[in-house]
Protein backbone atom coordinates (compact mmCIF):
# COMPACT_ATOMS: atom_id res chain seq x y z
CA UNK A 1 0.00 0.00 0.00
CA UNK A 2 1.16 3.52 -0.83
CA UNK A 3 2.50 5.51 2.04
CA UNK A 4 1.03 8.82 3.16
CA UNK A 5 4.01 10.89 2.15
CA UNK A 6 3.82 9.76 -1.47
CA UNK A 7 0.11 10.49 -1.74
CA UNK A 8 0.56 13.91 -0.16
CA UNK A 9 3.26 14.73 -2.66
CA UNK A 10 1.04 13.71 -5.56
CA UNK A 11 -1.85 15.83 -4.29
CA UNK A 12 0.44 18.84 -3.97
CA UNK A 13 1.69 18.41 -7.51
CA UNK A 14 -1.80 18.12 -8.99
CA UNK A 15 -2.92 21.14 -6.99
CA UNK A 16 -0.16 23.25 -8.49
CA UNK A 17 -1.10 22.04 -12.00
CA UNK A 18 -4.69 22.94 -11.25
CA UNK A 19 -3.64 26.43 -10.25
CA UNK A 20 -1.91 26.85 -13.61
CA UNK A 21 -4.82 25.54 -15.67
CA UNK A 22 -7.35 27.67 -13.81
CA UNK A 23 -5.14 30.73 -14.34
CA UNK A 24 -4.93 29.89 -18.04
CA UNK A 25 -8.68 29.51 -18.15
CA UNK A 26 -9.15 33.00 -16.76
CA UNK A 27 -6.57 34.47 -19.12
CA UNK A 28 -8.31 32.82 -22.07
CA UNK A 29 -11.70 34.10 -20.89
CA UNK A 30 -10.49 37.69 -20.77
CA UNK A 31 -8.67 37.36 -24.10
CA UNK A 32 -11.74 35.82 -25.66
CA UNK A 33 -13.69 38.99 -24.98
CA UNK A 34 -10.98 41.08 -26.64
CA UNK A 35 -10.61 38.82 -29.67
CA UNK A 36 -14.37 38.81 -30.14
CA UNK A 37 -14.38 42.60 -30.07
CA UNK A 38 -11.62 42.67 -32.68
CA UNK A 39 -13.64 40.28 -34.79
CA UNK A 40 -16.66 42.58 -34.62
CA UNK A 41 -14.59 45.69 -35.35
CA UNK A 42 -13.38 44.10 -38.57
CA UNK A 43 -16.87 43.30 -39.79
CA UNK A 44 -17.96 46.69 -41.21
CA UNK A 45 -15.03 46.73 -43.66
CA UNK A 46 -15.66 43.22 -44.93
CA UNK A 47 -19.38 43.97 -45.29
CA UNK A 48 -18.77 47.23 -47.15
CA UNK A 49 -16.17 45.78 -49.48
CA UNK A 50 -18.53 42.92 -50.18
CA UNK A 51 -21.25 45.45 -51.08
CA UNK A 52 -18.90 47.24 -53.43
CA UNK A 53 -17.79 43.96 -55.03
CA UNK A 54 -21.41 42.94 -55.59
CA UNK A 55 -22.14 46.35 -57.17
CA UNK A 56 -19.19 45.79 -59.47
CA UNK A 57 -20.49 42.36 -60.40
CA UNK A 58 -23.77 44.03 -61.40
CA UNK A 59 -22.10 46.70 -63.50
CA UNK A 60 -21.50 45.68 -67.07
CA UNK A 61 -17.79 46.11 -66.73
CA UNK A 62 -15.56 46.33 -69.78
CA UNK A 63 -12.89 44.26 -68.06
CA UNK A 64 -13.55 40.68 -66.87
CA UNK A 65 -11.24 40.00 -63.95
CA UNK A 66 -9.12 36.81 -63.82
CA UNK A 67 -10.36 36.07 -60.27
CA UNK A 68 -13.76 35.24 -61.77
CA UNK A 69 -12.35 33.08 -64.52
CA UNK A 70 -13.00 29.33 -64.28
CA UNK A 71 -9.91 27.50 -65.52
CA UNK A 72 -9.44 23.77 -65.80
CA UNK A 73 -7.91 23.20 -62.38
CA UNK A 74 -4.48 21.59 -62.23
CA UNK A 75 -3.25 22.93 -58.95
CA UNK A 76 -4.96 24.36 -55.89
CA UNK A 77 -3.59 26.39 -53.03
CA UNK A 78 -4.90 26.04 -49.47
CA UNK A 79 -4.56 29.01 -47.16
CA UNK A 80 -4.66 27.34 -43.75
CA UNK A 81 -5.35 29.51 -40.71
CA UNK A 82 -4.28 27.93 -37.42
CA UNK A 83 -3.40 29.13 -33.94
CA UNK A 84 0.12 29.93 -32.77
CA UNK A 85 -0.25 28.14 -29.45
CA UNK A 86 -1.59 24.77 -28.45
CA UNK A 87 -3.68 23.68 -25.45
CA UNK A 88 -6.89 24.46 -27.27
CA UNK A 89 -8.44 21.03 -27.63
CA UNK A 90 -9.15 19.68 -31.09
CA UNK A 91 -9.41 23.08 -32.75
CA UNK A 92 -6.43 22.81 -35.12
CA UNK A 93 -6.64 19.05 -35.57
CA UNK A 94 -10.26 19.18 -36.74
CA UNK A 95 -9.35 21.86 -39.26
CA UNK A 96 -6.31 19.96 -40.59
CA UNK A 97 -8.48 16.88 -40.98
CA UNK A 98 -10.81 18.79 -43.28
CA UNK A 99 -7.91 20.27 -45.23
CA UNK A 100 -6.31 16.86 -45.75
CA UNK A 101 -9.65 15.35 -46.76
CA UNK A 102 -10.26 18.11 -49.32
CA UNK A 103 -6.71 17.89 -50.62
CA UNK A 104 -6.98 14.09 -50.98
CA UNK A 105 -10.27 14.55 -52.83
CA UNK A 106 -8.62 16.97 -55.27
CA UNK A 107 -5.66 14.64 -55.59
CA UNK A 108 -7.98 11.94 -56.91
CA UNK A 109 -9.13 14.35 -59.62
CA UNK A 110 -5.46 14.92 -60.52
CA UNK A 111 -5.35 18.35 -58.95
CA UNK A 112 -2.15 19.02 -57.05
CA UNK A 113 -2.15 20.88 -53.75
CA UNK A 114 0.10 23.47 -52.24
CA UNK A 115 -0.21 25.41 -49.01
CA UNK A 116 0.13 28.89 -47.54
CA UNK A 117 0.19 28.63 -43.78
CA UNK A 118 -0.80 31.05 -41.05
CA UNK A 119 0.10 30.16 -37.47
CA UNK A 120 2.85 28.07 -35.88
CA UNK A 121 0.65 24.99 -35.47
CA UNK A 122 -0.01 24.71 -39.21
CA UNK A 123 3.65 25.07 -40.14
CA UNK A 124 4.64 22.47 -37.54
CA UNK A 125 2.03 20.05 -38.86
CA UNK A 126 2.97 20.39 -42.53
CA UNK A 127 6.63 20.24 -41.61
CA UNK A 128 6.10 16.74 -40.27
CA UNK A 129 3.81 15.43 -43.01
CA UNK A 130 5.32 17.15 -46.06
CA UNK A 131 3.54 19.15 -48.73
CA UNK A 132 4.60 22.07 -50.88
CA UNK A 133 4.49 25.20 -48.76
CA UNK A 134 4.51 28.55 -50.56
CA UNK A 135 4.47 30.99 -47.70
CA UNK A 136 4.23 31.12 -43.92
CA UNK A 137 3.02 33.88 -41.62
CA UNK A 138 3.22 33.20 -37.91
CA UNK A 139 3.33 34.81 -34.48
CA UNK A 140 0.74 37.39 -35.41
CA UNK A 141 -0.35 37.84 -31.80
CA UNK A 142 -3.78 38.41 -30.30
CA UNK A 143 -4.46 41.50 -32.35
CA UNK A 144 -3.08 40.76 -35.80
CA UNK A 145 -2.30 43.65 -38.08
CA UNK A 146 -3.93 43.37 -41.53
CA UNK A 147 -0.56 44.39 -42.99
CA UNK A 148 1.10 41.23 -41.63
CA UNK A 149 -0.93 39.15 -44.07
CA UNK A 150 -0.23 41.18 -47.21
CA UNK A 151 2.90 39.18 -48.07
CA UNK A 152 1.29 35.78 -47.79
CA UNK A 153 -1.78 36.81 -49.77
CA UNK A 154 0.38 38.37 -52.45
CA UNK A 155 2.39 35.17 -52.89
CA UNK A 156 -0.83 33.24 -53.50
CA UNK A 157 -2.36 35.86 -55.81
CA UNK A 158 0.87 36.15 -57.81
CA UNK A 159 0.94 32.40 -58.29
CA UNK A 160 -2.63 32.63 -59.57
CA UNK A 161 -1.75 35.50 -61.90
CA UNK A 162 1.15 33.50 -63.38
CA UNK A 163 -1.10 30.50 -63.90
CA UNK A 164 0.80 28.32 -61.41
CA UNK A 165 -2.34 27.72 -59.41
CA UNK A 166 -5.94 27.73 -60.62
CA UNK A 167 -7.89 27.57 -57.38
CA UNK A 168 -7.44 28.88 -53.87
CA UNK A 169 -9.20 27.71 -50.73
CA UNK A 170 -9.42 29.46 -47.40
CA UNK A 171 -9.42 27.03 -44.46
CA UNK A 172 -10.21 28.35 -41.01
CA UNK A 173 -12.41 27.90 -37.98
CA UNK A 174 -15.69 29.76 -37.94
CA UNK A 175 -16.89 31.13 -34.60
CA UNK A 176 -20.40 29.81 -33.91
CA UNK A 177 -20.44 30.41 -30.17
CA UNK A 178 -18.14 29.89 -27.20
CA UNK A 179 -18.80 26.16 -27.12
CA UNK A 180 -18.79 25.50 -30.86
CA UNK A 181 -16.23 26.24 -33.54
CA UNK A 182 -16.85 25.08 -37.06
CA UNK A 183 -13.91 24.21 -39.35
CA UNK A 184 -14.56 25.52 -42.86
CA UNK A 185 -12.86 25.03 -46.21
CA UNK A 186 -14.16 27.69 -48.59
CA UNK A 187 -13.30 28.37 -52.19
CA UNK A 188 -11.65 31.76 -52.54
CA UNK A 189 -10.63 31.77 -56.20
CA UNK A 190 -12.38 31.66 -58.59
CA UNK A 191 -14.76 34.02 -56.82
CA UNK A 192 -18.32 32.80 -56.97
CA UNK A 193 -20.31 35.19 -59.15
CA UNK A 194 -23.07 36.96 -57.22
CA UNK A 195 -26.59 35.71 -57.72
CA UNK A 196 -28.80 38.49 -59.01
CA UNK A 197 -32.24 38.71 -60.51
CA UNK A 198 -32.83 39.79 -64.10
CA UNK A 199 -34.60 43.03 -63.19
CA UNK A 200 -31.45 44.55 -61.72
CA UNK A 201 -29.46 43.88 -64.87
CA UNK A 202 -29.69 47.33 -66.30
CA UNK A 203 -26.90 48.57 -68.51
CA UNK A 204 -24.67 50.82 -66.50
CA UNK A 205 -21.04 50.98 -65.66
CA UNK A 206 -18.84 52.96 -63.36
CA UNK A 207 -16.67 55.83 -64.33
CA UNK A 208 -13.26 54.39 -63.55
CA UNK A 209 -10.47 56.68 -62.43
CA UNK A 210 -7.86 55.67 -63.53
CA UNK A 211 -8.17 52.44 -65.57
CA UNK A 212 -10.75 49.73 -64.82
CA UNK A 213 -8.08 47.00 -64.83
CA UNK A 214 -5.83 48.78 -62.36
CA UNK A 215 -8.72 49.62 -60.05
CA UNK A 216 -10.37 46.21 -60.08
CA UNK A 217 -7.00 44.52 -59.55
CA UNK A 218 -6.41 46.62 -56.49
CA UNK A 219 -9.92 46.32 -55.16
CA UNK A 220 -10.22 42.55 -55.59
CA UNK A 221 -6.81 42.08 -54.00
CA UNK A 222 -8.06 44.11 -51.01
CA UNK A 223 -11.20 41.98 -50.98
CA UNK A 224 -9.23 38.74 -50.79
CA UNK A 225 -6.94 40.26 -48.17
CA UNK A 226 -9.93 41.31 -46.11
CA UNK A 227 -11.38 37.78 -46.29
CA UNK A 228 -8.09 36.30 -45.11
CA UNK A 229 -7.77 38.90 -42.34
CA UNK A 230 -11.34 38.27 -41.20
CA UNK A 231 -10.59 34.53 -41.12
CA UNK A 232 -7.51 35.13 -38.98
CA UNK A 233 -9.25 37.26 -36.38
CA UNK A 234 -12.21 34.89 -36.28
CA UNK A 235 -9.81 31.99 -35.80
CA UNK A 236 -8.23 33.91 -32.92
CA UNK A 237 -11.59 34.22 -31.20
CA UNK A 238 -12.11 30.49 -31.75
CA UNK A 239 -8.70 29.72 -30.28
CA UNK A 240 -9.39 31.60 -27.06
CA UNK A 241 -12.85 30.08 -26.69
CA UNK A 242 -11.51 26.56 -27.29
CA UNK A 243 -8.65 27.20 -24.90
CA UNK A 244 -10.99 28.40 -22.21
CA UNK A 245 -13.11 25.25 -22.52
CA UNK A 246 -10.05 22.97 -22.63
CA UNK A 247 -8.56 24.60 -19.55
CA UNK A 248 -11.87 24.51 -17.70
CA UNK A 249 -12.05 20.77 -18.37
CA UNK A 250 -8.46 20.33 -17.22
CA UNK A 251 -9.19 22.24 -14.01
CA UNK A 252 -12.29 20.13 -13.33
CA UNK A 253 -10.37 16.93 -14.02
CA UNK A 254 -7.63 17.99 -11.62
CA UNK A 255 -10.31 18.64 -8.99
CA UNK A 256 -11.70 15.12 -9.45
CA UNK A 257 -8.26 13.59 -9.22
CA UNK A 258 -7.50 15.51 -6.03
CA UNK A 259 -10.74 14.27 -4.47
CA UNK A 260 -9.85 10.66 -5.28
CA UNK A 261 -6.35 11.04 -3.95
CA UNK A 262 -7.57 12.65 -0.74
CA UNK A 263 -9.84 9.68 -0.18
CA UNK A 264 -6.89 7.37 -0.75
CA UNK A 265 -4.76 9.48 1.61
CA UNK A 266 -7.33 9.22 4.39
CA UNK A 267 -7.62 5.47 3.85
CA UNK A 268 -3.87 5.02 4.06
CA UNK A 269 -3.61 7.23 7.14
CA UNK A 270 -6.44 5.40 8.91
CA UNK A 271 -4.89 2.03 8.06
CA UNK A 272 -1.58 3.15 9.53
CA UNK A 273 -3.28 4.33 12.74
CA UNK A 274 -5.26 1.10 13.06
CA UNK A 275 -2.13 -0.93 12.56
CA UNK A 276 -0.22 1.06 15.14
CA UNK A 277 -3.04 0.71 17.66
CA UNK A 278 -3.29 -3.02 17.16
CA UNK A 279 0.46 -3.29 17.60
CA UNK A 280 0.30 -1.33 20.90
CA UNK A 281 -2.61 -3.43 22.14
CA UNK A 282 -0.80 -6.58 21.07
CA UNK A 283 2.37 -5.38 22.83
CA UNK A 284 0.49 -4.47 26.03
CA UNK A 285 -1.23 -7.86 26.27
CA UNK A 286 2.10 -9.63 25.81
CA UNK A 287 3.61 -7.85 28.87
Amino acid sequence: MANTKEVRKQIASIKSTQKITSAMEMVAASKMKKTQDTMLEGRPYSLKIKDVISHIALASSEYPHPFYEERTPKKACFIVVSSDKGLCGGLNINLFKQVIAKSAELNEQDIESCFALIGTKASAFFKSVGGEVLAVAEKLGDKPNPDDLIGLTKVVLDMHKNGDIDQAYLCSNGFVNTMTQQPNVEQLIPLAPEEHDESSLTQWDYIYEPEAKELLDGLLTRYIESLVYQAVIENNACEQAAKMIAMKNATDNAGDLIKELELLYNNVRQAAITQELSEIVGGASAV
Binding site: H55, S103, G130, G131, E138, D147, G151, V155, E209, L215
Partner: protein
Protein backbone atom coordinates in the same frame (compact mmCIF):
# COMPACT_ATOMS: atom_id res chain seq x y z
CA UNK B 1 -31.56 69.75 -48.79
CA UNK B 2 -30.86 66.36 -50.33
CA UNK B 3 -28.21 64.21 -48.69
CA UNK B 4 -26.13 61.19 -49.58
CA UNK B 5 -25.22 58.31 -47.29
CA UNK B 6 -21.57 58.03 -46.46
CA UNK B 7 -19.64 55.14 -44.92
CA UNK B 8 -15.97 55.32 -44.09
CA UNK B 9 -14.41 52.04 -42.97
CA UNK B 10 -10.90 50.70 -42.49
CA UNK B 11 -10.08 47.03 -42.11
CA UNK B 12 -9.80 47.31 -38.34
CA UNK B 13 -12.69 49.65 -37.55
CA UNK B 14 -15.70 51.62 -38.68
CA UNK B 15 -14.60 55.23 -38.89
CA UNK B 16 -17.70 57.18 -39.82
CA UNK B 17 -21.20 56.58 -41.01
CA UNK B 18 -23.85 59.19 -41.64
CA UNK B 19 -25.46 61.61 -44.08
CA UNK B 20 -23.73 64.31 -46.04
CA UNK B 21 -24.65 67.11 -48.39
CA UNK B 22 -21.20 67.05 -49.95
CA UNK B 23 -18.14 64.80 -49.70
CA UNK B 24 -14.64 65.87 -50.66
CA UNK B 25 -11.82 63.38 -51.15
CA UNK B 26 -8.39 63.15 -52.72
CA UNK B 27 -8.54 60.68 -55.59
CA UNK B 28 -5.44 59.33 -57.31
CA UNK B 29 -6.22 61.63 -60.24
CA UNK B 30 -7.06 64.69 -58.17
CA UNK B 31 -9.56 66.30 -55.81
CA UNK B 32 -13.13 65.04 -55.96
CA UNK B 33 -16.31 66.68 -54.81
CA UNK B 34 -19.32 64.40 -54.58
CA UNK B 35 -22.84 65.72 -54.31
CA UNK B 36 -26.01 63.60 -53.90
CA UNK B 37 -27.08 61.96 -57.17
CA UNK B 38 -23.52 61.63 -58.48
CA UNK B 39 -23.07 59.14 -61.31
CA UNK B 40 -21.54 55.75 -60.31
CA UNK B 41 -17.80 56.15 -59.88
CA UNK B 42 -14.98 53.96 -58.71
CA UNK B 43 -11.62 55.46 -57.93
CA UNK B 44 -8.46 54.93 -55.94
CA UNK B 45 -7.72 57.28 -53.08
CA UNK B 46 -4.41 58.99 -52.47
CA UNK B 47 -3.22 59.83 -49.00
CA UNK B 48 -5.11 62.90 -47.89
CA UNK B 49 -8.14 64.17 -46.04
CA UNK B 50 -11.70 63.03 -46.64
CA UNK B 51 -14.09 65.82 -45.71
CA UNK B 52 -17.75 65.22 -45.00
CA UNK B 53 -20.02 68.25 -45.13
CA UNK B 54 -23.51 68.11 -43.72
CA UNK B 55 -25.17 71.53 -43.95
CA UNK B 56 -22.88 73.88 -42.10
CA UNK B 57 -21.14 71.14 -40.17
CA UNK B 58 -17.96 69.62 -41.51
CA UNK B 59 -15.88 66.68 -40.36
CA UNK B 60 -12.51 65.63 -41.71
CA UNK B 61 -10.76 62.28 -41.63
CA UNK B 62 -7.29 61.39 -42.74
CA UNK B 63 -7.07 58.52 -45.16
CA UNK B 64 -3.73 57.00 -46.16
CA UNK B 65 -5.05 55.48 -49.36
CA UNK B 66 -7.71 53.03 -50.42
CA UNK B 67 -10.78 53.07 -52.63
CA UNK B 68 -13.87 55.17 -53.08
CA UNK B 69 -17.12 53.93 -54.55
CA UNK B 70 -19.96 56.23 -55.48
CA UNK B 71 -23.53 55.13 -56.11
CA UNK B 72 -26.18 57.82 -56.68
CA UNK B 73 -27.33 57.61 -53.03
CA UNK B 74 -24.25 56.15 -51.35
CA UNK B 75 -20.56 56.85 -50.93
CA UNK B 76 -18.29 54.12 -49.56
CA UNK B 77 -14.71 54.84 -48.56
CA UNK B 78 -12.55 51.75 -48.04
CA UNK B 79 -9.53 53.11 -46.27
CA UNK B 80 -6.23 51.26 -46.00
CA UNK B 81 -4.68 51.10 -42.56
CA UNK B 82 -1.24 51.88 -43.89
CA UNK B 83 0.30 53.34 -46.97
CA UNK B 84 0.69 50.73 -49.63
CA UNK B 85 3.34 50.64 -52.29
CA UNK B 86 4.13 47.82 -54.69
CA UNK B 87 7.73 47.70 -53.51
CA UNK B 88 6.62 47.26 -49.88
CA UNK B 89 4.11 44.56 -50.81
CA UNK B 90 6.87 42.79 -52.72
CA UNK B 91 9.15 42.91 -49.66
CA UNK B 92 6.36 41.44 -47.52
CA UNK B 93 5.83 38.65 -50.03
CA UNK B 94 9.51 37.78 -50.05
CA UNK B 95 9.46 37.72 -46.24
CA UNK B 96 6.54 35.25 -46.21
CA UNK B 97 8.32 33.01 -48.71
CA UNK B 98 11.56 33.12 -46.74
CA UNK B 99 9.78 32.17 -43.53
CA UNK B 100 8.34 29.20 -45.38
CA UNK B 101 11.77 28.14 -46.58
CA UNK B 102 13.43 28.54 -43.20
CA UNK B 103 10.65 26.80 -41.30
CA UNK B 104 10.43 23.87 -43.59
CA UNK B 105 14.06 23.42 -44.58
CA UNK B 106 15.07 20.00 -45.93
CA UNK B 107 11.73 18.30 -45.96
CA UNK B 108 9.74 16.45 -48.57
CA UNK B 109 7.77 18.55 -51.02
CA UNK B 110 5.13 15.89 -51.60
CA UNK B 111 2.39 15.59 -49.04
CA UNK B 112 2.36 12.22 -47.34
CA UNK B 113 -1.40 11.58 -47.07
CA UNK B 114 -1.01 8.33 -45.14
CA UNK B 115 1.25 9.95 -42.57
CA UNK B 116 -0.99 12.99 -42.27
CA UNK B 117 -4.12 10.91 -41.73
CA UNK B 118 -2.32 8.68 -39.24
CA UNK B 119 -1.09 11.65 -37.24
CA UNK B 120 -4.51 13.27 -37.19
CA UNK B 121 -6.23 10.01 -36.29
CA UNK B 122 -3.85 9.57 -33.38
CA UNK B 123 -4.50 13.09 -32.13
CA UNK B 124 -8.26 12.63 -32.41
CA UNK B 125 -8.06 9.30 -30.58
CA UNK B 126 -6.12 10.93 -27.79
CA UNK B 127 -8.74 13.64 -27.42
CA UNK B 128 -11.54 11.08 -27.45
CA UNK B 129 -9.84 9.02 -24.75
CA UNK B 130 -9.58 12.04 -22.53
CA UNK B 131 -13.27 12.77 -23.04
CA UNK B 132 -14.20 9.17 -22.28
CA UNK B 133 -12.12 9.13 -19.12
CA UNK B 134 -13.84 12.28 -18.06
CA UNK B 135 -17.34 10.87 -18.63
CA UNK B 136 -16.57 7.76 -16.59
CA UNK B 137 -15.83 9.73 -13.47
Amino acid sequence: MSTIKINIVSSSEEIYTGEATMVYATGTLGELGIAPGHTPLLTGLAAGPVRVQNGSEEEAFFCSGGFLEVQPDLVTVLSDTAERADSLDEAEAIKAKETAEQELANKDATLDYAKASAQLAEAVARLKTIQKLRKKQ
